[in-house]
């Protein structure tokens, strides 16, 4: 097992620049998710790490050694593919054994009939069978070893693909959207199992997904990628609570963060819909920006509400409830979270007042960069009202 270090990777496909100077350091045993919308370059980056794709410039190091010019087969990495890529003609056991056979047996020993009489084959085969059985045990697929992939369910195939990856103790595991072909329920279950597997193996995992929930729930760190760049790479809670950029804030979190257009004055005062809010920033330049409010940062209030509007839609999830409000004067909807016991007062069309937790408010400037120096001015709130 080893850490990975990616330095200033660029990748072009003809005229299209897919990766623009991506750098990322992954510690030994760390679980890092590459998350972003489709086309952001996350899969390309993973394939460059794997060696299946060659970078236009930049360097990849595995365990401190550059692997430039080394082909995928020599990099000692394991990969789980989105389609699982199991060999359809081989049984589950044979599929898991392939990486070991390829590395430990020579061409003659691998021959179907003749291989049996080549010296050393029987002993190697026994070793391999033992390791395959061990991997199958870890993944609880020992009873499936004789079946063909075609006879397995999606979840079982996924386990076989994981088995094939972990059977040979690689430097790192690369997972390319391994859960996206599973149904919702199985996905939640397998998510927990992969996280558990990571704890058990203490191996380096690089996990590509477009699903921010997967990234949030499994990773030590999340690298949010967009437009061929890593916008932010930090622990899940940091990416959620303290995003560097508006794109990151928008991408991470479900339901999506509410973004309200605000104006910033020379004094640092933040104005929403022409009204000053109880927020000031340390940045004393005039301009427009955005106020990001997560659904849980908003709460219902009767008096002095900076936001008022009509309820247009409510989603009761049982444990919590998300309500969409058409805000007066804004022309867009915002979503807030509440508890289902308030649903009596939240009929469709009802007018509600909303306020927000100033500590949880995120302010972004005109180009989407985070404005961090924010102060709550609770006193001025009453004056304004």
């Amino acid at each position: 097992m080893a850490g990975l270090s990616i330095t200033n990777i660029n990748k072009r496909f003809g005229e299209t620049e897919v990766l623009k100077g991506v750098s990322l350091d992954i510690a030994d045993g760390e679980f890092v998710s590459l998350v972003g919308p489709s086309g952001c370059g996350k899969s390309t980056l993973l394939r460059i790490i794997a060696g299946l794709e060659e970078q236009t410039s930049g360097d990849v190091q595995i365990g401190g050694t550059s692997v430039a010019g080394q082909r995928a087969a020599d990099r000692n990495l394991s990969m789980v593919f989105q389609s699982y890529a199991l060999y359809p003609h081989l049984s589950v056991g044979e599929n898991i054994a392939v990486p070991l056979k390829m590395r430990r047996m020579n061409t003659l020993q691998r021959l179907p009939l003749l291989g049996g009489v080549i010296p050393g084959k029987a002993q190697r085969a026994a070793e391999i069978a033992k390791e395959v059985a061990h991997a199958a045990e870890i993944l609880e697929i020992a009873h499936l070893l004789d079946r063909k992939p075609g006879q397995l369910s999606g979840g079982q195939r996924q386990r076989v693909a994981l088995g094939r990856a972990l059977v040979r103790d690689p430097a790192a595991f690369l997972l390319d959207e391994p859960l996206s072909n599973l149904d919702a329920k199985l996905r939640v279950q397998t998510r927990a199992e992969i996280a558990q597997l990571h704890r058990q193996l203490k191996a380096t995992f690089v996990y590509v997904t477009h699903d921010q929930v997967e990234a949030m729930t499994m990773s030590d760190r999340i690298a949010v990628m967009m437009g061929g760049r890593i916008l932010q790479c930090a622990a899940p809670e940091t990416v959620y609570d303290d995003p560097d950029r508006i794109e990151v804030a928008e991408f991470i979190g479900s339901p999506k963060i509410n973004l309200l257009p605000v104006e910033l004055s020379e004094t640092g005062q933040v104005h929403l819909l022409g009204q000053p809010l109880s927020l000031t920033t340390g940045r004393r330049t005039k301009g427009v920006g955005s106020l990001g409010l997560r659904p849980e940062a908003l709460f219902l209030t009767d008096r002095n509400a900076p936001l008022r509007g009509q309820i247009v839609h409510a989603e009761n999830l049982g444990s919590e409830m998300f309500v969409q409000v058409e805000v007066n004067g804004l022309g867009s909807r915002i979503t807030f979270r509440t508890t289902p016991d308030k649903r009596a007062s939240l009929a469709q069309g009802a007018t509600v007042g909303l306020d927000f937790d100033a500590d949880k408010a995120l302010v972004f400037d005109a180009i989407g960069a985070r404005v961090r120096d924010i102060h709550s001015t609770t006193t001025s709130k009453t004056e304004v009202a």
């Binding site: 299946l52 082909r71 087969a73 061409t107």
Partner: protein
């Protein structure tokens, strides 16, 4: 529903019954035309041929006698028919593996090309599209012992080092080069060569179609699993994925090989090559049944021919269902 409507139970049953009868009748009416055509065009002629193979019928005769299995006895005892089976099997056993192998090789090579793919495809497919009868005439000219291009080209090798390392060349230069189509040692191989030349492009196209269905990600998985050489990737991914295609290609090639006729008819219209060395089944059927009007023996050969083809088809079905479907 019957209770709610107040209709007696028996009436409903009767209604269902008439409905069933109607439905059955409609089914027969709809399948009828296809069924009649199938019986009239496919099954009846085979049945008639089967019956005729036990007679001494000739076209134009008012009657015929039943001769029992005498036609079949002739087929399996006379030396002419022994030659027929030898020629047919030699042709099939030569042409099928080589044309399948070349087809696969060409498909793999073309598939690995970035440019000129279409050009190569067209070139290799040209012999398939060309009329074999016309091509046979061209081949006949090229194979002509004295003025043909092939022997002329071989003569150019006389006096060079080829004469020293290749006994065939030495013999040719000392005496004369083969008569090809007139020599019983060469005739069947020349026919086989033309069969391969003509047929492998078809197999190549089938394999190219098969190759498009190979999952790209499997090659990446193979690379990650340590399959470094092209041969290893072929063994692990390509060849298994082409299993269904191979079964189909081999069966089709076999059936086509059994059916070889036009080159032989074009080269030796009067009877199956030098010393009957290229007297293949299709030609025998034509000669006996059509030229000599011996319908009985012609039908018997046809039945044996059909049995071969049926046997191959059954093997294919079995393989497709049991072995190569994952």
């Amino acid at each position: 529903m019957s209770l709610a409507d107040g209709v007696p139970h028996e009436a409903v049953a009767a209604k269902t019954k008439t409905h069933n009868v109607k439905e059955r009748r409609a089914a027969w009416i709809l399948t009828g035309p296809a069924l009649i055509l199938m019986v009239a065009i496919l099954l009846a002629p085979i049945l008639v041929a089967g019956l005729l193979s036990f007679t001494n019928y000739s076209l134009g005769n008012s009657g015929f006698d039943w001769v029992g299995t005498r036609n079949y006895e002739k087929l399996f005892t006379r030396s002419t028919y022994a030659k027929m089976f030898t020629a047919t099997l030699t042709y099939v056993v030569t042409v099928v593996p080589i044309s399948v192998g070349l087809g696969l090789g060409a498909a793999l090579l073309i598939n690995s090309l970035g440019r000129f793919r279409e050009a190569y495809k067209t070139i290799y497919f040209l012999p398939v599209m060309a009329t074999l009868l016309a091509m046979a005439i061209a081949w006949e000219f090229m194979l002509h012992p004295s003025i043909g291009m092939i022997n002329r080209t071989l003569e150019m090798g006389c006096g060079t080092f080829l004469e020293r390392i290749w006994p065939f060349m030495a013999n040719g230069c000392a005496g004369h080069f083969p008569v090809w189509l007139g020599d019983k040692r060469y005739a069947i191989w020349v026919i086989s060569f033309i069969g391969i030349w003509q047929g492998f492009g078809f197999n190549m196209v089938l394999y190219l179609a098969g190759l498009t269905s190979v999952h790209r990600e499997l090659y990446h998985a193979a690379e990650m699993d340590g399959a470094k050489s092209a041969w290893e990737r072929f063994r692990l991914v390509t060849w298994p994925a082409l299993g269904p295609t191979t079964v189909f290609v081999v069966t089709i090639s076999c059936i086509r090989a059994f059916q070889v006729f036009d080159t032989i008819e074009a080269f030796w219209p009067q009877g199956g090559g030098p010393n009957k060395s290229t007297y293949v089944m299709m030609f025998a059927i034509f000669e006996k049944g059509v030229q000599q009007n011996l319908i009985g023996i012609g039908s018997a050969i046809t039945m044996v021919f059909l049995a071969f083809v049926m046997f191959l088809t059954l093997i294919q079905r079995w393989l497709v269902e049991r072995k190569v479907h994952y």
